[in-house]
């Protein structure tokens, strides 16, 4: 399990994230919400070891993250950045296949996994095409397939960190993508994802962390977090909270 305790992160002497205690639990989808500059991406960077915390520690299976050998860590922890800068004409399945680099599972097994991951990310029809010929949303799904392939099939003890995985997707694919992530969690993996859409968060997340001003404001179930008062306090946005008529989860409507 990926955990952090008393996490502080500074950028050039400014405290950009302070006092975060978090467990990313097996089998759960944990959503991180907050306005721009609230420290969401900073939190994700600290959780995967990209940023060194000024105080506190991050552990993966009770072992400090920095003490994990690279390949072993990569077999347990996969990260999808907000955007990618790949500028070379790899074919789609080659990009997804890079997710298998930390493993030695053999070419045949890797090919199966790449196919399954592409299917899960609803990108199977892109196989064979050049990555550079894809649209932004298609690229995002290919990278999602890549990180899914890295942890495939997803089991207890594995953690997936996603930074705005739906930012460039059309409405249908926002749902298919998050559904795929949910199924990944159902098989036992822990998932932390940063989202901006409150209704998507309400529907697909088990727990939510609301960040404001670099501090955790509320941590709890969608019903506990997605209330008018905390949302007003953190986002400055007046909202009505209703029930989804069919599914029962909170439905957020701006006033």
């Amino acid at each position: 399990m990926l955990c952090c305790r008393g996490l502080d992160v500074r950028r050039r002497d400014t405290l950009v994230l302070g006092g975060v205690d978090l467990d990313v639990r097996p089998g759960e989808v944990l959503g991180v919400l907050g306005p721009n500059g609230a420290g969401k991406s900073t939190l994700l960077a600290a959780l995967c070891g990209e940023l060194q915390p000024a105080a506190g520690d991050v552990t993966l299976d009770d072992r400090a993250l920095a003490h994990w050998p690279g390949a072993e860590r990569a077999q347990r922890l996969a990260v999808l950045p907000q955007q990618s800068t790949l500028n070379f004409a790899f074919r789609v399945e080659e990009v997804v296949g890079m997710g298998r680099l930390p493993h030695a599972s053999g070419r045949a097994r890797d090919a199966e996994i790449v196919e399954a991951a592409l299917l899960a990310a609803d990108a199977a029809h892109l196989a064979g095409r050049s990555y550079l010929a894809l649209s932004g949303g298609e690229r995002q799904r290919v990278h999602l397939a890549r990180v899914l392939a890295q942890l495939w099939p997803g089991a207890q003890g594995q953690t997936l960190l996603l930074d705005e995985p739906t930012s460039m997707l059309d409405p249908l694919h926002q749902h298919t993508t998050l559904q795929a992530v949910r199924e990944f969690a159902l098989r036992g993996a822990a998932v932390l994802l940063i989202l901006h859409d409150l209704n998507l968060a309400a529907r697909y997340c088990d727990r939510l962390l609301l960040l404001g001003d670099g501090r955790p404001q509320v941590l709890g179930t969608p019903e506990e977090v997605l209330r008018a008062e905390p949302l007003k306090a953190v986002f400055g946005l007046d909202v009505l909270v209703q029930r989804h008529p069919e599914r029962g989860h909170p439905l957020i409507i701006a006033r």
């Binding site: 990209e50 996969a78 800068t85 790949l86 070379f88 004409a89 790899f90 080659e94 890079m98 680099l101």
Partner: protein
Amino acid sequence: MSASVRSRRLLIFLGVLLVLAIWLSLALGPVSLPLLDTLRAALRMVGLPVTAAGLEQAELILGQIRLPRTLLGLAVGAVLALSGVAMQGLFRNPLADPGLVGVSSGAALGAAVAIVAGASLGGVPAAFEPYLLSFCAFVGGLGVTALVYRLGRHDGQTSVATMLLAGIALTALAGAAIGLFTYMADDSTLRSLTFWNMGSLNGASYARLWPLLIVALAVSLWLPRRARALNALLLGESEARHLGFEVERLKRELVFCTALGVGAAVAAAGLIGFIGLVVPHLVRLIAGPDHRILLPASALAGASLLLLADLVARLALAPAELPIGIVTAMIGAPFFLYLLLRGRA
């Protein structure tokens, strides 16, 4: 046709091309040898039982002139192309060139110091002269690259963007220093300086060859071991780290391999442009960007292209010789423009 079949065919084609290029490079020149005699003499030299009848002249020319020159071309071409792949991987840009980290300009500065200072000191003993030049060029290349790398480091991280800018600044500085030396040089020094800057495989000797051969062998064995890491690096530095690779060490190795390889190549043959830029590009167009194919294919293609360019240099104005840097630039620059326009279309 699947990608792996295509890659295998490309490697076989490039292997055959290289053998042909070596053969022609051994046979053709001011005194052209019959192709069959060349083959027989070459086979005899590697120890196969071939009758020596009528091969005396061929063996003499081959052993003394053509073979060292061919080996030099082979090593320089392979190393420049491999360094190009390494730099394009490091900067994650298909238009990067080994010169970006300052190694070429540093080597040129070292050579200028050796030529001008050597001449104004009344000359070093003739036996040392070629070594002094190579040595200074090699040290200059490594020194400037080390400085570029040092400037790019901050808080234990290497910023390739800063390295790029530092490389540009130091290249300009080295250019100014070379200009100063050129200004101070007398006519004959000026001539050797100019010719050195245009590159040549002329005057290859075994004594100057072996350091380069060792470096070329080391680089061609080392870089392919990093093919998977280089693939991951193209995704981005953080992505490569998340895939479990030690990115800082990889970057250090790439810079070191390039500095060593290009430093040794420039020291042995002067400045030869465009091989490092164009060859990896060409291979990528055919086989895609996967470094497991790109590295070996670029080494083979770079060696072939340089040998063929040297043939043009030798034969175009025979018995006079063109500097090979002119030939590679005349092929390379239009090709580069073609790539630019093609990318825009």
